[in-house]
């Protein structure tokens, strides 16, 4: 067991040690504080990530449209400050199959206090073709996105002009199995438009013959859409059911319209750039009022 020191011995020992330790502490302290002060001089802050998040691209190119608009936004400008009539962006649309390209022109549309820049293209959009949109600033930073348009699918609805409870089958063919169609059936009733939407796509399992079909009963469509089981086809304002459809290209992901995914589809930016084909046709229904047996 070690002998115990008394208080005075501790004081003497301590004062000796303290002298040498004090000197070391002094030097270390000076170096340390100098380092901290140098590090502390930089008080700047760059809260905006300027290397990424350059431009956002929102829009679609429609095979059937003569003019298409793509919204471009400089992501480095806060919305509250975005009242400029010009945007530092050169926007080019290129047909990657042929190499043909077009420089798009800006159309400024004002919403409240915010100016939006919607670039207009008159390029003849072809089916089954890949397009790239490229946005480049004067500083050389650029963002691009690509999309492929769908092929042309023929549509057919049969039978037409039949009674309200006769099922109708709508067929699209040929439809590439990588693409999908959103079909919306609408009708007018009491001056208002009602309808239902249907997603058509190739089955996940089993053989696919290149044909997408949708079979529906006009009567059921009307009653379900309005949520009124007393309605009949003669309740409609017209004798037509309108079929509007959008045929998306193979890179379109249904359900991907979320906040999260569209932030990831444009590398270095954000947005959605979609190739599609929009079309519509009418299906005539026999709206002659008959006896109430349909109830």
């Amino acid at each position: 067991m070690k002998p115990h020191k008394n208080a005075k011995q501790y004081i003497a020992d301590g004062q000796e040690i303290a002298g040498s330790v004090r000197s070391i502490w002094h030097r270390l302290g000076v170096v340390f504080i100098a380092g901290l002060l140098i590090a502390g001089c930089d008080n700047s802050l760059q809260p905006l990530n300027t290397e990424k998040g350059i431009y956002s691209i929102y829009g679609f190119i429609d095979v059937n449209a003569d003019v298409n608009y793509i919204r471009i936004k400089d992501m480095n400008i806060p919305l509250v400050d975005d009242t400029t009539q010009t945007i530092d962006a050169a926007v080019t649309l290129t047909d990657l199959n042929t190499g043909a390209s077009q420089v798009l022109q800006d159309s400024v549309v004002q919403f409240a206090n915010v100016s939006t820049h919607n670039f207009r293209t008159t390029m003849d959009i072809q089916p089954e073709t890949t397009y790239r949109i490229r946005v480049e600033g004067s500083d050389g930073r650029s963002v691009s996105a690509t999309t492929t348009t769908p092929g042309i699918a023929q549509y057919n609805a049969e039978p037409t002009g039949e009674q309200c409870d006769t099922p109708i089958t709508i067929r699209f063919e040929p439809v590439d199995e990588e693409t999908l169609i959103i079909l919306r059936l609408t009708f007018m009733l009491g001056g208002q438009q009602f309808g239902a939407q249907q997603l058509l796509q190739a089955p996940v399992t089993g053989e696919y013959n290149g044909i997408l079909t949708h079979r529906f009963s006009p009567l059921q469509l009307i009653r379900d859409s309005v949520n009124d089981s007393d309605l009949h086809c003669w309740s409609m304002d017209t004798e037509y059911i309108e079929a509007r459809y959008i045929h998306f290209g193979p890179d379109y992901e249904f359900g991907g319209e979320s906040n999260v995914s569209d932030s990831l589809t444009v590398p270095g930016g954000a947005g959605q750039f979609v190739g599609l084909l929009r079309n519509s046709f009418s299906i005539r229904i026999d709206t002659t009022e008959i006896s109430a047996h349909l109830n």
Partner: protein, 763 residues
């Protein structure tokens, strides 16, 4: 891979059952066992001047013949120290404390005797030199993870009001991180505010810190001492997974009345204390009210976001021959804004009332402590659209603490009953929760002992368990060990280990520094209980009588932390996900005390990392496990506090440096058009602010110098006037608080705050 993040859920294992049964057995058997032949010495130390107990007094029991130290300790908040199972014979009892004359007396203990020695220490005229006192302080303190904060320590840190404040002091501690200068949020060694527990005289109080981080409900005037456990605490503290702030208020003067008031540009206060019955009953009252809203425009020259707060403290104390009791009431209220550009009005309120009694009569083998009370906390957030969200916690509690000897081993044991209600009224912002109203009784038990196999080593194992009606009992073993190589506390190596749980969590939107609104809700039903493992090792060295230094390394592993779910979109919705966290680091502190000079310096390094399944945390993250540093991960913190007495003046200075804390950069701003249902030239789209990778960048460093000079004028026999002038952030550094993600506006912390305070005391 998403599921590969380790989620710790409690399983009521056989081991746990054995533990709980064992604990119950100990509690049941312990009272029946008593050492008949050994003696008990109980020391009660108080001040002769005002009759109040002295906490932290050094008590040494010496060999009556040789004067060698046999054992010793320091008094608790009641001025009480209990030595049980000691050999019946003669001893020399020596008691000392800073500023008081050392008391020494010879005592002789008979076999089986329990002796209560009541000592009133006499004030040293002209104040005793600390050199002598420090030399005598050769008792085990077991300070690993613990910082003992005295009233004097609090008073040394410059504060823009008369007298110091615990909140200002805590921010000078390397382990304690605040996210800014507003909000009253303190992080301790990686732990979030809701992982820390604040006790005032054993009564739980959820958020006693004011909206200005310079102030709390604990001014220097009312505080007796504070134990800050940054981790590794024993099982007598249950219900927190990170840290404990254990505040002891002082009783009012038992001998004479005195009162006074103070005023500064930022706060006014009134206080009164005195005996209701001289020597045995006293009261202490204090109230403070902020004046910040009235003065900031004049002094700061710019419009500051409003903040208003007050606190009231009332304490009745009784000191008898055989027991001491106190009744405490505290209420606080805070209201204001953090972000000047966002009109989110925040408010919170605490009400705590309760009583605590300690019995130490000779007829008791060991002291008994009983606490009972009620605690209420509510906080709310009101948006510009007048949507109000609120969260309220009510607690009715009872605690019993006792000591017994079991087979010659001293056992400290106790239990706590806590009936809690959690109520929240939430708008759509908190998409994870709907409004709720839960009732949860919580029962916790603990047992601990102290084993000293020799004069060098002290081992303090403890066990605790906690259960609610929806959660099985937890199993929380803990261990603290102290080794003194030379048998004195000139050197001390200490270690602390433990497992910790809590049964409630506070959820706030950590992504948004503009609000501190917190939803408190019970855990364990849908969400597994938060859990933590702590390991701390420390070394303390005294050099001479004036210089003390210590280094402490720590590691904490947290499980099941509820964090805000990250999405790329800056939106007000708050969804939560579970994360695990790892904190490690070290603190180095040095302190030099030699009146009239005082200097302390501390450096802390810390690393805080959270990890969660990225599926839980939104986009931008490609890896299955997302690791990030949360907003309170401040790697380096350096602090210097000094004071010097020049004649009748006292000058104090504090400089703090902190490295930049993580923040999330903005990826960009866009106007989202839903393709193809919206059309660019017809539809405005939805304005969005997109975040970059969460916490991917660090803010600039922070540093600030606070200074003060004060002097007390004696304006007669019964009146003292203390004047203090100073400034917070004297070189007017633009320290960033955060930036507004929508406008990129930089929000700085408080600019230079000059002040002149006056404090008058009458007796």
């Amino acid at each position: 891979m998403v599921g590969s993040v380790k989620k710790r859920t409690f399983c009521f294992s056989t081991f746990s059952k054995v533990f709980v049964c064992g604990l119950i057995c100990i509690l049941g058997v312990a009272p029946s066992v008593n050492a008949q032949e050994q003696s008990t010495l109980r020391v009660l130390v108080k001040s002769q001047e005002d009759g109040t107990p002295i906490a932290g007094a050094n008590v040494m029991v010496l060999n009556a013949d040789t004067g060698d130290r046999i054992f010793g300790g320091i008094t608790d908040r009641d001025g009480l120290l209990d030595f049980s199972n000691i050999a019946p014979r003669s001893y020399r009892l020596q008691i000392s404390f800073v500023g008081f004359k050392t008391h020494s007396e010879l005592i002789t203990l008979e076999p089986g005797e329990t002796r209560v020695v009541r000592v009133a220490l006499e004030v040293e005229v002209g104040q005793l030199d600390e050199l002598v006192v420090e030399d005598e302080r050769e008792v085990t303190t077991g300070e690993v993870g613990l910082r003992r904060i005295s009233r004097e320590d609090i008073g040394r840190v410059p504060s823009p009001v008369a007298g110091g404040d615990l909140a200002s002091y805590l921010q000078s501690v390397p382990s304690v991180i605040s996210t800014g200068d507003r909000g009253g949020e303190l992080h301790i060694r990686g732990g979030t505010p809701s992982q820390n527990k604040v006790l005032v005289d054993n009564l739980p109080i959820i958020k006693p810190f004011h909206i200005s981080n310079l102030f709390s409900a604990f001014p220097e005037y009312t505080v007796q001492n504070v134990d800050l456990f940054a981790g590794g605490f024993g099982a007598e503290y249950m219900g927190a997974t990170s840290a404990i702030i254990d505040v002891s208020l002082r009783p009012g003067n038992y001998k004479q009345f005195n009162g006074g008031g103070s005023i500064s540009p930022y706060m006014a206060s009134l206080n009164l204390e005195g005996p209701l019955k001289r020597g045995s009953h006293s009261i202490l009252l204090m109230g403070r009210k902020s004046l910040y809203n009235q003065s900031s425009a004049y002094l700061l020259g710019e419009e500051e976001p409003p903040m208003d707060f007050y606190d009231l403290t009332a304490r009745y104390s009784y000191q008898g021959q055989n027991y001491t009791c106190n009744a405490t009431g505290i209420t606080t209220h805070d209201e204001g804004q953090i972000n000047p550009s966002r009109s989110i009005k925040l408010s919170w309120r605490n009400i705590v009332v309760g009583g605590r009694c300690v019995g130490f009569a000779e007829s008791l083998n060991h002291p008994i402590e009983i606490t009972a009370g009620y605690s209420y906390y509510t906080n709310s957030e009101t948006s510009p659209d007048r949507t109000e969200r609120s969260s309220t916690v009510n607690q009715l509690f009872f605690a019993f603490d006792h000591q017994e000897s079991l087979f010659g081993v001293p056992i400290d044991y106790g239990f706590k009953l806590n009936f809690r209600t959690y109520k929240a009224t939430l708008a759509e912002q908190f998409t994870s929760f709907e409004s709720f109203d839960y009732r949860r009784p919580v029962v916790s038990v603990f047992a601990s002992t102290v084993w000293e196999p020799n004069k060098y080593l002290t081992v303090e194992p403890s066990l605790g368990s906690m259960a609610t009606i929806v959660t099985a009992p937890t199993f929380e073993p803990r261990l603290r060990m102290m080794y003194q190589p030379d048998g004195t506390n000139q050197q001390e190596i200490s270690v602390a280990l433990g497992r910790y749980h809590q049964v409630a969590s506070g959820i706030n939107d950590e992504r948004d520094a503009g609000t501190v609104f917190t939803v408190w809700r019970p855990d364990g039903e849908d969400i597994p209980l938060p859990e933590a493992l702590h390991a701390i090792a420390g070394y303390q060295q005294r050099i001479g009588n004036h210089f003390k230094t210590n280094i402490e390394g720590y590691y904490k592993r947290h499980y099941n932390i509820s964090v805000s779910k990250w999405t790329p979109i800056a939106k007000l919705e708050t969804e939560t996900a579970l994360a695990n966290g790892t904190t490690y680091g070290f603190d180095i502190a040095a302190e030099y005390r030699n009146r009239p000079f005082y200097l302390s310096a501390g450096y802390g390094y810390a690393s805080v990392a959270y990890e969660a399944a990225s599926g839980n945390l939104g986009a931008w993250i490609e890896e299955p496990i997302f690791r990030y540093s949360p907003a309170h991960d401040q790697r380096h913190k350096f602090n210097v506090t000094g004071s010097y007495e020049i004649g009748k003046f006292t000058a104090s200075v504090r400089w703090e440096y902190g490295s930049g804390k993580p923040y999330t950069r903005v990826y960009g701003f866009d106007l989202r058009v839903v393709v193809p249902s919206e059309y660019p030239i017809h539809d405005a789209g939805t304005a969005r602010t997109l975040y970059s990778r969460p916490y991917g960048q660090r803010l600039p460093v922070y540093h600030r110098l606070d200074v003060s000079v004060g002097r007390t004028f004696h304006l007669g026999k019964h009146t003292d006037l203390k004047m203090e002038a100073g400034a917070i952030n004297i070189y007017d550094r633009d320290n960033i608080f955060y930036f507004d993600a929508n406008t990129l506006e930089r929000i700085n912390q408080t600019p230079m705050l000059p002040y002149l305070s006056l404090q008058a005391q009458f007796n």
